[in-house]
Assembly symmetry: C2
Homo-oligomer: 301 residues x 2
């Protein structure tokens, strides 16, 4: 089985469905609630498991009951989280998210500074057997050391480059073999509002393969030619975009690990992300390999 190691910050997501944004000083009763594991690379790992890959997640959690719960959720999804570091006396991260009827999301997150104290990142045996390594910048040292180790063992190192904690930009641009920017992160790093200009502006600063996800506008990447290429997003009825980017990254990393072509990889990752968007919820909306295959067969017909 193709194996992908995902490195980042795992979170407990508590998502409340509310009629309106909670008014200051008041008590709001939510109409619905879901509790599930979250975090970019963590959701990507769940995606890889759903797509029949061998998924491992490595991150840092507190030695607390919330951390236990996050690990239980990984187990339920078939993600190997046995190498997660537990930091004593740290609190595990929680995000609470209120979702209004129009889809507007307001998020409060707590990430204990103890989880980000100087740490050693990953060791070589953490990535042993991996066919690809994926990292997010919520645990910068973990993700970037994972990118270094991926190069050492000769497998792709994919960085989910989104707004995150302070990070050494040049190192983050050069350590990965593949970088997938969020549109806001690319704009910030490149100083260009236009994604095509942004990718082109970054090209001189790194030898990494570069892409940017544009939501409903699809995916843009720099191929061999001078001009960025774009793959349209699948047109679906969107119920909830939460976690769609994470699903894309997970499917992308698995596709690279499986040595598929870039166009095939992006097509499959876009399909997985589109299917996720048709369902409410983050991790609970991740489609299976069979669902992605069916969707692609149907859309090709």
């Amino acid at each position: 089985m193709t194996s992908v190691t995902c490195v980042g910050l795992a979170v407990l997501d508590i998502v409340f469905g509310v009629g309106g944004v909670p008014a200051r000083g008041q008590k709001t009763f939510a109409q619905s609630m879901t509790v599930a594991g979250g975090g970019p690379a963590a959701n990507a790992a769940a995606t890889i498991a759903r797509l029949n890959g061998d998924a491992r997640f490595i991150g840092r959690l507190g030695e607390d009951s919330i951390g236990d719960l996050i690990l239980d959720d990984f187990a339920a999804w078939g993600v190997d989280a046995s190498r997660v570091r537990r930091v004593s006396s740290a609190s595990s991260p929680i995000s609470t998210i209120t979702v209004e009827p129009d889809g507007e999301r307001t998020i409060v997150n707590y990430s204990d500074p103890l989880l980000f104290e100087p740490d050693h990142g990953l060791a070589r045996n953490d990535v042993a057997g991996a066919d690809a390594v994926l990292g997010d910048l919520l645990w910068p040292n973990g993700a970037l050391s994972a990118m270094d180790l991926a190069r050492e063992i000769g497998v792709p190192g994919i960085l989910d480059f989104d707004h995150a904690r302070p990070v050494a930009i040049d190192r983050a641009l050069t350590a990965p073999t593949h970088i997938i920017f969020s549109a806001p992160a690319l704009a910030e790093i490149s100083g260009e509002r236009d994604p095509a200009s942004g990718l082109t502006a970054i090209r001189d600063r790194t030898e990494s393969w570069l892409a940017v996800t544009l939501g409903a506008d699809g995916t843009m990447w720099l191929g061999d030619g001078d001009e960025p290429r774009t793959a349209a997003a699948f047109d679906v009825e969107v119920a909830d975009t939460l976690g769609a980017g994470d699903v894309f990254h997970g499917a992308f990393a698995l596709g690279l690990a499986e040595h598929r072509s870039i166009t095939d990889i992006i097509r499959r990752a876009s399909a997985a992300a589109a299917l996720k968007c048709t369902r409410f919820g983050g991790r609970i909306g991740i489609p299976s390999a069979e669902e992605v295959d069916e969707f692609l067969a149907w859309r090709s017909a």
Copy 2:
């Protein structure tokens, strides 16, 4: 050991310390977070255990990991929660609370309707051995059947009468032997803004002993005479009032179970609540019996 059975709704409280109220559509990073069990009668049970009573809590929880976590917290506090009902496919209640630097609290709560579907309330063996029974109206059927059972076995039944789910007012006024109103609930039930007028207005509708907690203004109750009596609150430096009412109710119920005099009971309950106010956090701020004794000795000196 004196035994008190507490009946109500147990909740997981996630309390975030934030610089300002989260702006709609934005992501706010909290500076601190505490995760602890909460709920009025549930916190009262923790108080009774801290005051060296034998505390039992009975409520309804989902059969989920959050429910397990709430039960673990009871165990850590020495509260017997073995009679808690687990409702399959229900979610256990969560409250997330953002606290701003000036102490302003904004709360989002989810309580699964499945927890409030028609239920049988308590059975007689649930209160076996209890020297007093305390209920809150977040689980109306549970609390009011507990009041009935307290009368049956000849022990005090104390109702924490606060704003809550829809409830049959006349039944809630007559089932308990003792009612402690919150000031807003008394105003609403009596139609009187002034607490003394409120208590007097209610007097004709019930034979229960009646009191109202007034925060920094102390406690007012109807004694044998015509005029309400008032006990001042202890003057302390307030850090956080969260849970202070619950502590008062717990100490009050234990005092009744121990057959203390009303003035002694209110004095001890006020001391316990005042000590709680000097500490940040809800359940984690509950004082021990020794701390209450010391405080009272010091304040009497």
